[in-house]
């Protein structure tokens, strides 16, 4: 596969970012994933995954709006890069092939 590896959890976070579109910021990603995975996640795990992927070039980010609930602090909205989309597709491809050969 590619030199840049994508961890399992990272893959989930990345997909969630794509799903959430312009709502993709820390807490919202956490909520979405918790609901889908049916388990509690910590802010730390989400944030460190986001930061790692940003460093690897899978994500871009920019500051969004500030809300009262956040004590006036701005959100950081994440978007997936073309590299991320490409990598995700490759992974999916490999998996599909594997499943196909099982059947």
């Amino acid at each position: 596969m590619k030199k840049t590896k994508l961890g399992e959890f990272e893959e989930l976070v990345l997909l969630t970012v794509i799903v959430l579109k312009e709502d993709a910021y820390g807490v919202e990603i956490k909520r979405e994933l918790e609901e889908r995975l049916k388990e509690t996640l910590s802010v730390g795990s989400i944030q460190s995954a986001l930061k790692r992927m940003e460093e690897k070039g899978f994500l871009k980010s920019e500051f969004g709006e500030a809300t009262a609930v956040r004590g006036g602090k701005r959100k950081r909205i994440y978007t997936a890069t073309p590299l991320a989309v490409q990598t995700l597709e490759e992974i999916k491809e490999v998996r599909t092939q594997l499943w196909a050969s099982i059947a």
């Binding site: 820390g26 807490v27 930061k51 809300t67 009262a68 956040r70 602090k73």
Partner: protein, 870 residues
């Protein structure tokens, strides 16, 4: 959700923590995220739970990818400081090479000695602790009172184990094994090959209670019946070639207790190195009962009884409950039972008058102290030399303080210097330990390895940090105190006080060294004394060996064959062991019409014909055992002490009753001789007669010993086929009675040497320093006409006084310690004055020699060289 939610702020200290460690560029985003989460949490849970989760969330943010990097401005500062300290330390090591080497050498030798001793202590402490149920495993001891004295025995009745298990709810399980006298040894035959056996009678549940891992076979069943034995893996290897081959094989075993065939039912892992009991074959205790019904009798003492007590048993209360249990079950009220933790017995095995008084733990303590002292001496060197150099470092301190360094930074710097040094010393020390470990094992009789080092890394490191800290603390706190202004002006006001401390430390060092010297002299003199003291019998050129089989036929044919060998001067036999001196009996009566006179416990060896002649015991009255008089079990010989004790005026012909029905007659009196080691006083002794003892003694004609021993072996093999011939010299056996003292002597010789060398190193360094500081003074004195001798005296006097004080302090302490050590012996050397004189003089000479090298150099210097510099 509450209305004024926007005002709720999360817990403050967590937020503060967050600010502290989180990377600056992530702070706003993540803090915002957290506040939002907290807000959500408050909607779901109570405030306190929400807070708790929030704290947790903050803690979970401590991840490498999120926390601040050790870079940026903070990093540069710290790093720079470390680099600076390292550089300064290395430079100062380089500049003061002598001091550095002395410190390094001293600390590393000290550390190496300490590490070795720690290794040894650790090993001693681990003995017998490998049993899984160690915490609740107890050994039943009995105090036997006789004649206002109490003997403590580690063996009890064979019936006790089961009875205690059935009658005391505290007892979870109980094991009996045959005691030390009833260990089946002899030889095992398989396929025409013979193997030395070291057996143990044990109850069937032995392997369930004690942890000796069973490799093949079911621990509950291996010795369930009388016909099966289980053997150790090593033994199986040597008999059958592999452990798998052993199972189901039939072996025949011949020893003094029985001669039978057994089927191998299991293989256990041989007892580990730190087991106090060693054996290679285990069989059912019933075999002993079959051979000797007393093994299962309340009045017998054939067994050792181990108990597994329930977790919450109150040991004192339990001891009180079982104390008179034997009185209830036997016809004697002399026994008091108590339990001691099984693994403690190795270190705390010595009893006096029924009270625990130490044992091997004394040596463990002794060496722990020695280790601490050696390390202390090495630390003192470091402290002394660094304070001595204070004047050289004062400028550095002054400049640093002027630039703005605070005291903490300086303390930190000096401490890191000393810790750095001790880490280097540790590396050297570990190297030294590896180098001398084989030799150390040889002396201490252990098999210590560095493989088990993983467990020691942490203690060793903390030891080093502690050493570095202790050694460096004084200079660190002392040097960092100076005021920059005074220091830079060149005024050192309080150097006098400092010199006193230095002297005090040297006094401590040399006191310890003198004590070590005294100890070494006393120990070696005493060891020498034990070897040279006349014991009242010959032990040179006599070999002794045992025939371990079950055959008790008349030994006369064997003697006849032996006497045909030209190199054999005489032969004898006895039953039991002579040097162990553990054969004793009570119940003798020597006044007509009475029985059991005051129940004295007499030493009572049982010997055969010619024994007295072969060992050269001196008959002072009457005669020795002789065939001409048809002597049998009713003839006895007393020693002088016994004659005196019984107050017999005409001992020859005196009738002495024993037990219910035996009457014996005194046929002779021997001069007092040392029965056993010199730890024991010469006591009243009744020598009894046994014709068929199996411990043999052969006196060899000097000159052709090797040859004769080979011939003796041949005769032995002919007469006792299948028995193993393993002779030893009586003199060597005697020497090994002092094994533990010899080990202590050897070890303390080395340790004392190390202590003294390290002390001298320190003194050497100090002398070098003093000479250097007084260079100008010496120069001026010499120009004014002082001779080299005067200069020499000037420099030496200080040290002479210091060492003299050290001697004054240490002699009484040394006397006290040596005296209490000698109390262990019934016969010991006199502590004469010259021992202390030698110690004092050698310490003084050593000090002069050490200082002298430096001083002579200084005294011979041309004053021009030293004065020109200004």
């Amino acid at each position: 959700m509450s209305k004024n939610s926007s005002h709720i702020t999360p817990p403050k200290w967590s937020t503060r923590l967050l600010r502290l460690f989180l990377r600056g560029q992530y702070l706003e985003e993540i803090q915002g995220d957290l506040e939002e989460v907290y807000h959500d949490l408050l909607g779901k849970y109570s405030k306190s739970k929400a807070r708790r989760i929030y704290h947790l969330e903050v803690l979970k943010l401590i991840r490498p990818s999120l926390i601040r990097k050790f870079s940026g401005s903070e990093k540069l500062n710290n790093f720079g400081m470390f680099k600076h300290i390292l550089l300064i330390s290395i430079r100062s090591f380089q500049r003061h090479k002598t001091t550095f080497l002395i410190n390094l050498l001293g600390l590393s030798t000290g550390l190496a000695a300490t590490l070795l001793i720690l290794l040894w202590v650790q090993d001693e402490r681990s003995v017998d602790t490998f049993h899984e149920k160690n915490d609740h495993l107890y050994w039943v001891m009995s105090n036997f009172s006789i004649n206002n004295d109490v003997n403590t025995w580690n063996y009890t009745s064979g019936k006790l184990a089961e009875a205690l298990l059935n009658n005391f709810p505290e007892v979870k399980d109980a094991v009996r094994v045959g005691n030390d006298f009833f260990r089946p040894r002899g030889t095992i035959a398989f396929d025409e090959n013979y193997f030395e056996a070291n057996g143990l009678f044990a109850s069937p549940n032995f392997f369930e209670v004690m942890t000796y891992e069973m490799l093949i076979g079911d621990p509950e069943k291996v010795i369930a019946d009388k016909g099966s034995v289980t053997i150790s893996d090593e033994y199986a290897q040597s008999i059958f070639g592999s452990i798998e081959n052993a199972l189901g094989k039939t072996i025949s075993w011949d020893n003094r207790i029985f001669s039978k065939e057994f089927i191998v039912s299991g293989v256990f892992k041989a007892p580990p190195k730190n087991a106090s009991i060693r054996f290679n074959i285990v069989l059912n205790y019933e075999n002993l009962v079959e051979a000797d019904e007393w093994a299962d009798h309340w009045n017998g003492g054939y067994a050792q009884t181990y108990l597994l007590l329930k977790q919450d048993t109150d040991i004192d209360a339990f001891n009180a409950k079982i104390a008179d249990y034997l009185t209830i079950n036997t016809d004697s009220d002399r026994f008091q039972l108590f339990v001691q933790q099984y693994s403690k017995n190795y270190l705390y095995g010595k009893y006096e008058s029924g009270i625990q008084t130490g044992g091997r733990i004394d040596n463990v303590r002794l060496f722990t102290y020695i280790a601490i002292f050696i390390l202390a001496i090495a630390c003192i060197n470091f402290m002394n030399l660094s304070t001595a150099q204070a004047s050289k470092k004062l400028k550095e301190v002054g400049v640093k303080k002027a630039i703005g360094a605070n005291r903490t930074a300086l303390i930190f710097q000096f401490l890191s210097e000393s810790i750095l040094l001790s880490i280097i010393a540790l590396v050297v020390a570990v190297g030294l330990v590896m180098l001398v470990l084989p030799q150390f094992n040889h002396i201490s009789g252990k098999e210590l390895t560095l493989i088990s080092w993983k467990e020691y890394i942490l203690p060793a490191l903390s030891l080093v940090l502690l050493t570095g800290f202790v050694a460096g603390s004084y200079p660190a706190f002392y040097l960092s105190r100076f005021k920059p202004v005074t220091v830079l002006k060149g005024k050192f006001s309080n150097l006098r006080g400092e010199e006193w401390i230095r002297k005090g430390l040297v006094i401590v060092q040399f006191s310890l060294s003198v004590i070590f010297i005294i100890g070494v002299i006393v120990i070696n003199k005493q060891i020498d004394f034990t070897q040279k003291k006349s014991l009242g019998y010959d032990r040179e050129a006599i070999i002794t060996f045992r025939e371990a089989g079950s055959d008790y036929s008349n030994p006369q044919p064997f003697f006849n064959e032996l006497m045909k060998i030209p190199g054999v001067l005489s032969t004898a036999n006895m039953s039991g062991d002579f040097l162990a001196a553990d054969d004793n009996n009570s119940g003798f009566s020597w006044i007509e019409g009475t029985e059991d006179d005051d129940n004295h416990l007499f030493d009572s060896p049982k010997v055969g014909f010619n024994f007295i002649e072969t060992l050269g015991l001196e008959i002072v009255e009457g005669r020795s055992f002789s065939r001409d008089f048809n002597d049998g079990v009713s003839s006895i010989i007393l020693n002088e002490a016994a004659v005196e004790y019984m107050e017999l005026e005409n001992p020859i012909g005196t009738k002495i009753g024993w037990g219910d029905d035996r009457e014996m007659e005194v046929i002779g009196v021997v001069k007092d001789f040392q029965y056993g080691s010199l730890h024991k006083k010469i006591e009243p002794l009744i020598i009894q007669f046994r014709e068929r003892g199996k411990q043999y003694f052969v006196k060899l004609r000097p000159g052709s010993e090797q040859e004769t021993i080979a011939q003796v072996e041949k005769v032995f093999q002919d007469v006792f086929p299948g028995q193993i011939f393993s002779p030893s010299l009586l003199a060597d056996d005697y020497k090994s009675l002092y094994d533990s003292e010899n080990k202590v002597a050897d070890l303390s010789n080395y340790m004392a040497a190390i202590a003294i060398i390290v002390s001298c190193l320190g003194l050497f360094g100090l002398a070098a320093f003093t000479a250097e500081r007084k260079t100008k003074e010496i120069g001026i004195r010499k120009t004014l006409g002082a001779s080299q001798l005067i200069i020499f005296q000037l420099l030496t006097n200080v040290f002479t006084k210091t060492v003299a004080i050290a001697i004054l302090i240490s002699v009484p302490i040394g006397y006290y310690i040596a005296n209490s050590w000698l109390q262990n012996f019934a016969y010991s050397i006199e502590l004469s004055w010259w021992i202390f004189a030698i110690a004092a003089i050698s310490a003084m000479l050593l000090a002069w020699f050490t200082v002298g090298i430096q001083t002579i150099k200084a005294a011979r210097q041309n004053p021009v060289d030293s004065l020109r510099a200004e």
